[in-house]
Symmetry: C2
Subunit: 202 residues, 2 copies
């Protein structure tokens, strides 16, 4: 029985390659990653990879975009569609969403961007537009609605949606750097949100 040396699978290749690339980038970082290693994990030759992606940089951008796309939209949608009170939403869906972030691929992308971002300003802009700006916007909208409904009061805290994100940021960095040391990231995030809630509740 003859094993064919390869099969033609034009459609799935790009996705398989970016998936493999994500893994390798996650483990080694951008500069540490070898294109040949990516090809190997995707079960493909180096040459083929270069048929789908012009350069390593190109591949990198494709990976970031594949991870980032539409990831925050669900939050915005949840804010708009929910019928919960602001307090219940914060304690429920919002908290759940935030707890998930540090373990998600987004954390990997953040690390990659911190490391190599300054070389690819357009990538940073892309991330800004599709994650940071949207994410902060969604939180702002949520708070704003709470205020106009009389559930929250306006204050300094209201002006900084970044404070909602802050414990998530700490959790991500902690996880990236100090895998050995334990930190209850869920509890950390929850504590911050509870403190904010206590502070802005009308």
């Amino acid at each position: 029985m003859i094993e064919p040396r390869f099969q033609r699978r034009k459609q799935q290749r790009p996705g398989e390659i970016t998936d493999a690339a994500f893994e390798v980038f996650a483990e080694k970082g951008y500069t540490g990653a070898r294109v040949e290693e990516v090809a190997k994990r995707a079960g493909v030759s180096k040459g083929l990879l270069y048929l789908y992606f012009k350069t390593k940089e190109d591949l990198f951008k494709a990976v970031v975009k594949s991870v980032v796309i539409h990831r925050v939209d669900s939050l915005r949608a949840a804010v708009e569609e929910t019928e919960l009170s602001s307090e219940a939403f914060l304690r429920g869906p919002l908290l759940e969403f935030m707890k998930r972030v540090p373990g998600s691929p987004v954390a990997v992308v953040v690390r990659l961007l911190i490391a190599e971002g300054h070389r690819y300003p357009d990538l940073v802009d892309y991330y800004w537009d599709n994650v940071v700006s949207k994410g902060l916007g969604a939180i702002r909208a949520f708070v704003e609605r709470g205020v106009s409904r009389g559930e929250f009061r306006r204050s300094e805290v209201t002006e900084f949606p970044q404070l909602f994100i802050a414990p998530v940021m700490v959790s991500m960095i902690w996880t990236i750097l100090f895998t050995k040391r334990v930190l209850d990231t869920d509890k950390l995030i929850e504590t911050q949100l509870e403190m904010i809630l206590a502070h802005i509740r009308a």
Copy 2:
């Protein structure tokens, strides 16, 4: 008049080289930095650099250590020596200390560690021992003293000194990634500390 091609300055060389290396690493990151560029900026030949530092990695470690050394001790000392009330200390020296961090060399080191840390676990340990552990310890000691003096009340927040750091972390990452977009990092940090204070004040 003859300019001598070089002078012998055995004592100052290492410091001059690590200073130059810090600059280059800050601009280009570890992998992006060229040893020759470091040498050039230090006004020295590549060969000499390798006389003082065995490898590029060695140089990197030296840079991190030179930045990190004793940086947090001043905080711990301030906590122990102050005669201010806990509230006044938090609003004064502690706040000032934290505002300074995002613009300091420590932010550069954090970026370098996030980027390359996983390749140098002993460096991460070093950073842990000398910055993170000490820093969190100092904050914990401060809070603990406040509680025992009856100025603060124990709560969930008290268990997470990371919450004091969180806005500093956000500020650092923001500054590193989004130089273009403005964020009043001082105000961000202040707002978080005020919220914490309001929350734990007895």
